[in-house]
Amino acid sequence: MSDASFETRAHESEPQFGDYFALLKPRVMTLVVFTAFVGLLAAPVPLHPFVGFCAVLFIAVGGGASGALNMWYDADIDAKMRRTARRPIPAGKVTGEEALAIGLTLSAFSVIFLGLATNWLAAALLAFTIFFYVIIYTMWLKRLTPQNIVIGGAAGAFPPMIGWAAATGDISTASVLMFCLTFLWTPPHFWALALFVRMDYDNATVPMLTVTHGRRATRRHILAYTVLLAAFALGLGFTQVGGPIYLTVALVLNVLFVKGAVDIWRRDEAAAEADNYRAEKKFFKLSLLYLFAHFGAILVEAGLDRLGVWA
């Protein structure tokens, strides 16, 4: 940084450490940390606790790096939407170049150190996740197709698979199904939100299913993905990470979730507006519990297994 920047940056806009940290999307990172931790702990091969901690940290840093690259590329559309206008780049706190440099550096750092700490399959999966989120989703398909939520959800679904690979060095049915759990959960979760929150994606020319195909089609999509999700979520219960606790949680929550999706599908806009989108809001709240409880149940099963309760 040159001396000139001392003078040109206004004092009030001097970027603080928190502004750089915000580039890593800390809220998204919590989901990454939690699901990667579950994937790592559910794996049948125990990892040294410190190596496990480092693995989750590097996966989180990789996720954060892709968030920074996403903010660098999407700065133009972030500035046009209320939800994202206060992000560090559109708010003028951090420059796009800084975000790009941080994103690229942390991407390389996280992949290399995950490989050195655990194995190169886990590192390759992390590298692919960053590539998928930044190139395939952010740069290519986000502004092109209303299925962008589905594609973005795939990137967010990799962490438990990476955690599993870090411990075992391989990919299994269980880890693929854990991927499917988050992948298939994202669209109904987000589209339910899109039904009751008026989003300004139009201003940013990002195609949203509610706008491009209408709200009736969005309701059909929510039901289709929810039914598919229920099948995969229950299927996961019959793999090595499942068990009676997971199956009970999955059965109860999937019955409730499918019922919620059917309720949304049966309603039209007039009925939804009449009760201020009650069913849609209820479904969205349930979706938050749904994902947390499924991965939480896997964690409990893994913990009990380690303690030899099921032996």
Binding site: D3, F6, H11, E14, P15, Q16, F17, G18, Y20, F21, H48, F50, V51, C54, L57, L116, A117
Partner: protein
């Protein structure tokens, strides 16, 4: 432009510099910890030649 110890730039960037310092300290601690774990588990031990290929 002189940069004395009391220059206001230090005050302005204090939080950022402390944050970066803590990140660097954490990075050193992680590398040190990983090295200790890997060495104590024997991850870096060389395979004796001629044992694995059956010669």
């Amino acid at each position: 432009m002189s940069l004395s110890k009391q220059h206001e730039i230090h005050q302005r960037r204090r939080g950022r510099n402390i944050g970066l310092g803590l990140v660097l300290v954490a990075f050193i601690a992680i590398i040190f910890g990983l090295t200790v774990v890997k060495v104590s588990r024997g991850d870096f031990q060389m395979q004796p030649q001629g044992v694995s290929d059956g010669n």
